[in-house]
Amino acid sequence: MFDLILKNITQRKLRTGLTIFGIALGIFAVIVMGGMSEHFNQTFDRSISLTADKIRVFPEIGFGGGNLNESKAREIKRVPGVADAYGLLQAALDPESLGFFGGDAVIGVEPEKIPSLLKDTKLTDGRFLAVGDGYRTVLGSSVAREFNLKAGDEIQIKSKRVQRASSITHARNFTVVGIMEYTGSFFDNGVMIPLNIAQKFYDRGDTVSFILAVPDEGVDAEDLSKRIELNVEKIKTFSPEQLRKQIEQSLVVFTLITISAAVLAAIIGGLSVMNTMLMSVSERTKEFGLMKALGAETRDILYMTMGESAIMGILGGIVGIIGGGALVYYLNDFLASRGTILFSVTPRLLIISIVFSTLLGVISGLYPAYRAAKMSPMEALRYE
């Protein structure tokens, strides 16, 4: 029966082609939007996994606002259960051209804390920062690719300082001493410099953006997070779990928006299948009547009509995946030269896309198939 299905599909090439194109557009949207959502989810997961064991400590008035004195790290370290605590200073690499997706960031960190911060992340070139390093930097893989840098090269970092009513931009070259491997986390867009140099360069005195508290082995991070808040004044903590929940919430909204748009596009594709199949069933009324007169059962007619719509769905899915995959590949390639990657076409996304397109074809073919199968053979044979 499968050969009959293929014959019917190939018989009306233009119509079949346009229907497949309709589905393909929908799946194209699923791949592009879904790929973006997958990438954000992956980045979030990898970033969290690198710092999942640490508690983040912010100034009481909130993220980004206010300053956190480095001395707080010493206070936090005294809280029972805290193995270590150290501050990080974070700033935009180029404050004058912030990208839509955040862009590259300078991370000021004490060189001796890097093993704790980056865990087992390796270098592809050069060395990590060492105590006593001055205007030296270790770059994330995306930054290195964006500026085409290797160990020994120099990178210009800008700082914007507000003085009276105006802001002055300072620029300074830092020598690259190492390039990190690709981690899939936000560290790929990081430019690591020694904390004391960052504080001086950004004129931040002895303040930091936030502090990471490392719990002792076996200590519950949630409990410790609360204890730190109770023991240290004017700070706010975010346990790994709280942070995960907060980011997940914002990612859920983003995922919903992107997936809804893609699903809507795919449903429009599904309607085109339904339209085509209704036309096809109507045109072949007499043919179905004849088949019934020849002894075809309801399931034979259902199988044939739904088979046609399912195959159109599958073909649409394949074309959509190829088209979407190609666009994502070229966009990623283009964006990589600008230091960012926006899409990840994961096996999960591919499976979802092909299953979705097949289901779309089958579901869209249900009603036309039902109409074809329920036809009275006598009325169908009389149909002109």
Binding site: L4, M291, A293, L294, G295, E297, M378, L381
Partner: protein, 232 residues
């Protein structure tokens, strides 16, 4: 005498045209023996096509019974009707009703697909039937590439594909010229000579005169039932 291959008993069909009942068939009864070649004739509206639909399980009677090969087909459930159609009945239509996208061989093959016959057997049988119809060299042609007579021969091959107990032919020569008509009637007679029961509904006296029995219908009833002794 052998058990008749077709037994019709008190068959009636009444349609409602608005609130007015129309008696398309009234108390029709007769028997057909295996291998008979008979025609049902009558003017338009005499009930002959309605009658054919009842035997072919394309429509249900208001009352009465039809037995084909000993099975009461009028009692069949909707789910059983396709099985009876493909096992007991072969249809030949006036407009050939071949599937335009399929070749002659595929049009014969499709009847056997629904009977779940294995592919190799289907191929063998369709070639055998088309050869019997003199269409061996036209097997891969589509209906649009065949003449009316060739198309009707494909339709007859298709009707015979599942070795049915009876072939029901509804105006099988209505769309062809006289030469082709004679050839089709001869073909049907030849099949009948080989034991195939064939029931032809026709307006054409030239066709009915070549059958061995003529049932005339008028106003939904049998007007006459004649055995033709001397045939061509």
């Amino acid at each position: 005498m052998n058990e008749p291959i077709l037994r019709v008993r008190n068959l009636s069909k009444t349609y409602m045209q608005g609130k007015i009942p129309v008696h398309a068939l009234s108390d029709v009864s007769f028997d057909v023996q295996k291998g008979e070649f008979l025609s049902i004739v009558g003017p338009s509206g005499s009930g002959k096509s309605t009658f054919l639909s009842m035997i072919g399980l394309l429509d249900k009677p208001t009352s009465g019974s039809v037995f084909i090969d000993g099975v009461e087909v009028t009692k069949a459930k909707d789910s059983e009707a396709p099985v009876i159609r493909r096992q007991k009945i072969g249809f030949v239509f006036q407009h050939f009703n071949l599937i335009p996208t399929l070749s002659a061989q595929e049009n014969v093959d499709i009847a056997m697909r629904f009977a779940r016959m294995p592919k190799s057997r289907r191929k063998e049988r369709s070639i055998e039937l088309l050869t019997q119809m003199g269409l061996r060299d036209r097997m891969n042609h589509k209906p649009s590439e065949l003449s009316g007579g060739e198309q009707q021969r494909v339709a007859i091959a298709r009707a015979m594909a599942n070795n049915p107990a009876i072939i029901l032919a509804d105006e099988p020569t209505g769309e062809v010229d006289t030469k082709t008509r004679d050839m089709i009637v001869e073909l049907l007679r030849g099949l009948s000579d080989n034991g195939q029961t064939i029931l032809v509904v026709t307006h054409d006296i030239a066709v009915s005169s070549k059958t061995r029995r003529i049932i005339s219908m008028r106003d939904g009833m049998i007007e006459s039932d004649k055995i033709i002794k001397t045939n061509l």
